[in-house]
């Protein structure tokens, strides 16, 4: 099992490494780059929510802080936005500690709502602290490379690093402690686990990687504004969807979910590449809503978590009871 997982990982890595050399179209490369970025964000969200049970509606905070760290390197410090790749992670981690310090006093839905509120505060600060962030005008930088290839490999590296790190963490003491807190915080405390400490550690790792993804986004896209990078819908909710659709509480769930969601988003945005009527592109929020309802009803553990169920469905056998992993709704 252990070996198989490593082999799948290496196989995928090799496949993705070859892809941009075979596929010449920048359009497809772009989609894969964005999907790889979502692998990072979805996996990070999954560490905190899927494994540690602390469902965050505020991951836009870390993405935004990471992106702005990179942007501000150029606009205020006059250095390359690439320094953001070093700065973005730690800065996001600091905002993560702030979020934890505020929100980890609360449990369950109260925690979820608190993260939502703090994320809105960050968005508003980014809009109104014009001296630092340029407000709604956003930050525009000149991207370093015209080719997609360097960005592609950077995104691939980040995604691989993130998935690998999280799968390693989950096999260690931290991983056991995270899941224990998810399953029963009171029982965890009785086993000598400081739930505040380990929730904070989970949040730190999660925010670090999300911040890296944000810094990457700034460098790749060359433009950010608060409504994009601190967006509830485009970042925080999307992070949840990626992990939920793929399978929260599994290592391979968010990577699968990232590709599913980015492809779906692209299909709707382009009205199924122009084959569907134009209004379809307007309806993508609606479609995502329906998708979530269906996923929660029939596939609560996501594509990866409920894979045996899907296979059985294919073979027209009685579905197996859903196994370990996933979030209890």
């Amino acid at each position: 099992m252990k070996k198989r997982s490593t082999l799948i990982g290496l196989g995928l890595l090799a496949l993705f490494a070859v892809f941009p050399l075979v596929e010449g179209s920048d359009y497809y490369r772009h989609i894969v780059i964005i999907a790889l970025m979502w692998v990072v964000i979805g996996s990070s969200w999954n560490l905190l929510a899927g494994y540690t049970g602390q469902i965050s509606f505020g991951h836009a905070i870390f993405f935004g802080v990471g992106a702005y760290s990179a942007g501000i390197c150029t606009t205020k410090l006059g250095i390359s936005a690439w320094w953001g790749m070093l700065l973005g992670g730690p800065m996001a981690m600091i905002s993560g500690l702030l979020l934890g310090w505020i929100c980890f006093r609360l449990r369950g839905s109260y925690f979820n709502l608190a993260t939502l509120a703090v994320a809105e505060v960050f968005r508003l600060v980014a809009i109104y602290w014009r001296d630092l962030t340029e407000g709604m005008q956003g930050i525009l930088i000149i991207t370093t490379f015209r080719s997609k290839i360097p960005y592609y490999f950077l995104a691939l590296g980040l995604a691989a690093l993130c998935v690998f790190s999280i799968s390693r963490i989950m096999k260690s003491k931290w991983g056991f402690y995270f899941v224990a807190i998810r399953e029963d915080q009171d029982a965890a405390e009785a086993l000598g686990i400081s739930s505040f400490k380990y929730k904070s550690l989970s949040l730190m790792v999660s925010s670090f990687f999300t911040g890296l993804a944000g810094a990457f986004y700034m460098n790749y896209m060359g433009f950010i504004d608060p409504e994009v990078v601190f967006s509830l819908y485009f970042i925080s909710i999307m992070a949840i969807l990626v992990a939920m659709i793929g399978g929260a509480g599994t290592v391979w769930g968010p990577p699968v979910g990232a590709f599913v969601m980015v492809l779906l988003q692209e299909l709707f945005r382009s009205s199924f590449f122009g084959y569907a009527p134009k209004w379809v592109s307007e309806a993508h929020a609606l479609a995502f809503g329906l998708l979530v309802i269906l996923a929660i009803r029939y596939m609560a553990n996501g594509v990866v978590g409920d894979f045996p169920k899907i296979v059985n469905l294919w073979n027209r056998k009685k579905p197996m009871p859903s196994g370990a992993g996933g979030i209890e709704i």
Partner: protein, 237 residues
């Protein structure tokens, strides 16, 4: 000073005094029973010792150190393990993973934790069920797993909260043996139990409480023949 000592322990939930001026001490190596009718405050005492509730007044000393004021997880680190009356399995983990999680209390190495967990599970006669998902266990096995989980944190003092309730007579007999085995391995035990057969059998000393107050203490036979205890359980003539 005794191995474990509570002094003038009081807990008030608003106007309701759940534990009232309770003092007691437990010596190293004994099995100490805590009994009382339903709602007499036994579980509350455990929740006070392990800091799930803050104490209203009084002190708790464990091996010469005051433990009141410490958070729950530090009390576990200090060497007090517990089980829950309403079992709290980590549902979506296997039996082995449950116990490994608690074995990490004394080590950071997965291999050491795994070996320790397997050892404890064999000690508790759960060796055949290592890979069962915790949520699939019967109530008897869940209780056993809770004991194993508490043992894997390597406690010096173990608080057992109604580990025999809901068990078949056969399972109870096995449970009594297990508790004796735990004591013989050098762990002091405080046990809350309703089943008199069990408690009279294994305890060295018993404290009986009602309405959070002490009504009797002594050896099992002393307590069993105490008029106040009989009245508390059966009512007055």
């Amino acid at each position: 000073m005794s191995f474990f000592e509570i002094k003038r322990l009081t807990k008030a939930f608003g106007g309701l005094i759940a534990v009232n001026d309770l003092s007691s001490s437990v010596e190293e190596g004994e099995i100490y029973g805590l009994i009382g009718p339903n709602g007499s405050g036994k579980t509350t005492v455990f929740n006070l010792i392990t800091a799930y509730y803050p104490i209203t007044s009084g002190t708790i000393h464990f091996r010469g150190k005051e433990t009141n004021g410490l958070p729950t997880w530090k009390i576990c680190k200090a060497g007090i393990g517990r089980t829950f009356q309403i079992v709290k399995p980590l549902r979506r983990m296997t039996v082995l993973e449950n116990v490994m999680t608690s074995a990490f209390c004394r080590t950071s190495s997965s291999t050491v934790a795994r070996d320790r967990a397997i050892e404890v599970l064999h000690f508790c006669e759960m060796g055949k069920k290592l890979d069962y998902p915790a949520k699939s266990l019967t109530i008897g096995d869940r209780k056993r797993m809770e004991i194993a989980r508490a043992l894997a944190t390597e406690p010096k003092l173990l608080l057992l909260d109604e580990t025999m309730a809901c068990l078949t007579p056969q399972e109870q007999a096995e449970g009594v043996q297990l508790i004796r085995k735990i004591r013989d391995s050098g762990i002091t035990i405080i046990i809350v139990e309703h089943i008199m057969q069990v408690i009279m059998n294994i305890c060295d000393r018993i404290l009986c409480i009602n309405y959070g107050q002490e009504i009797a203490r002594g050896t099992p036979s002393e307590v069993a023949n105490n008029q106040a205890v009989i009245e508390a359980y059966l009512g007055k003539e």
